[in-house]
Subunit: 325 residues, 2 copies
């Protein structure tokens, strides 16, 4: 995993070398600087560089595309935070709260353009292909965000529709990051597609793990309130599966927990957890997650690349699945 | 001018052939369809095609870039309308009012991606060059919008800063449309730059004409309330020039008109018009406009292209300057 750490350092170094402080108007550029300095795991750009390395590419020829992905990702956060009315991001005020919605809209727009600018610095030989993939992915991410917002006002959502939403909102950007890295290393079409599918399936598994950790994570390491999704009636895999399976008294009890105005938060979490236990929701979610995880590994296995390099991806996937928070 | 009319028909035909009705989620795509169906003069994409023709290009090889420009322009309107809290656009409810701000943000984001998608369909030989120009222009347009918003909260703004703002917010997109058309027709660097400068200067002249028409347009043809900018204390060239020049009693009278809560609209317009007359504001604005207009024509003159084709640009520029509304 040292390689990933090195890439993360490189990405942070490159991001901090962009000179936003001297650009005018400041109202447009300081929020961009702020949002990029909030940190984040930089997993997408690091995986782009790692996929590039997997197929024998050089980091210096893929770094601009990696920056494009990270800036694009942060652009989506800026706009999502407005739409979700989110006050905090990485324990700091969101741009939308620290400045205002207009500034978050326009700074976000500029970040989007900048992401295309970085992408456009890539080898012209591959530009058309990675640009098309990037655009398609950007649209899918927007569609995922819209579906997520639509789901909030629906009574319930099928598991298939939920999985489609998290694939669009979360997984395809991870997948495209890997594929862009592969394309820039002149990987074969088959290999580029396998690494894309590895990322897409891993991305869905990752999000399902997130859903599971909300209720079953290690409270000491979780860093958020355990059961936060339950308290907010968030339509996670756990809740949707429970709604699908609960019958008779369990259904009544679940409906009560979801609609009662008198239940305190702690009791609500306890009672919902009990319903989930009766329906084996955790196990079912883990089974679903493992389907995606195993599919990811199968695609990785099909990639034609040195075994010791593929091992890094496997270890990375394992680490994501074995996290407690 | 028949050529421009033909291009506008072509652009509208192509725009209406994009199938948004069957795309999901509908909340994302119906607002895009709506905003593109609101109409608009389609001047930017028509000029792109005209510039392409000027240098011997074929419309079918420039049409995708033209659609990119028009969709990008409409994306900026979607986001600007949120920021400006504008209820109407082309006499119809804005997307932001008809749906909501979140939908206008996200539909706008998708339109932006789509504009890049259309651009990316252009001849790969020129893709890198037109993409870089497009990106730079997109950033300038955002900077112009931010400056425009900043100006609202400032007591006054220098004429230089105002001209810089309208150049960014309005003129560079017109200029880039022309230059992209030229690049796609393999025009020389010099010619592409001259047609860019023609568009930029004409764009500034056009905006100054807009400022003048607010107070001095033909009321029967203007279609808006005469003096709407005056009533709103909008920092147009006219007002900024008056603030720069007014001294002593005229300054007091102007300050009174701008701050009085008792003046009715009609009286306010009359009294401000009288101040403008004393300071010869209309003439000064026309002089400034003519500087840009003449500069535009000088750049057109320097373009190495058939005279009869350049004549269409000249006639078009003249028509823009001689409009009464």
């Amino acid at each position: 995993m040292q390689k990933i750490q090195d890439y993360i350092l490189l990405i942070n170094k490159e991001l901090s070398s962009i000179d936003y402080s001297n650009k005018e108007p400041k109202e447009l550029y300081l929020p961009i600087k702020y949002s990029l300095e909030l940190g984040g795991k930089r997993l997408r750009p690091a995986l782009l560089l790692l996929a590039n390395d997997l197929f024998g590419g050089k980091a210096e020829e893929a770094i601009n595309a990696a920056l494009a992905i990270e800036i694009f990702h942060n652009f989506t956060l800026l706009h999502d935070d407005i739409m979700d009315n989110a006050p905090l991001r990485r324990n700091q005020p969101t741009v939308f709260k620290k400045w205002n919605a207009n500034i978050a809209i326009l700074s976000g727009d500029v970040m989007f353009v900048e992401s295309i600018q970085f992408l456009a610095k890539s080898n012209p030989k591959y530009l058309s292909e990675i640009l098309n993939l990037f655009n398609l992915t950007a649209i899918e991410v927007c569609e995922g965000q819209q579906l997520d917002m639509n789901f909030e006002t629906l009574d319930t959502v099928s598991i298939d529709n939920y999985l489609n939403m998290i694939e669009l909102k979360t997984a395809v950007l991870l997948a495209s990051s890997l594929k862009i890295g592969a394309i820039l290393a002149d990987a074969s079409k088959e290999d580029a597609n396998h690494i894309y599918e590895f990322g897409k399936n891993l991305g869905v598994a990752f999000q399902l793990m997130d859903d599971i950790l909300d209720l079953y994570g290690n409270p000491e390491k979780f860093g958020k309130q355990i059961g936060g999704d339950v308290i907010a009636n968030k339509k996670t895999y756990l809740l949707l599966k429970a709604k699908e399976l609960a019958k008779d008294n369990l259904k009544k009890e679940l409906d009560f927990c979801l609609t009662s105005a008198v239940l305190d938060k702690e009791t609500k979490v306890k009672r919902v957890a009990k319903i989930f236990d009766s329906l084996k929701i955790k196990q079912r979610a883990e089974e679903e997650m493992n389907l995606f995880y195993n599919s990811a590994l199968a695609h990785l296995d099909s990639v034609n690349a040195p075994q010791e390099k593929k091992k890094i991806f496997e270890d990375f996937a394992k680490a994501l699945m074995n996290r407690e928070s």
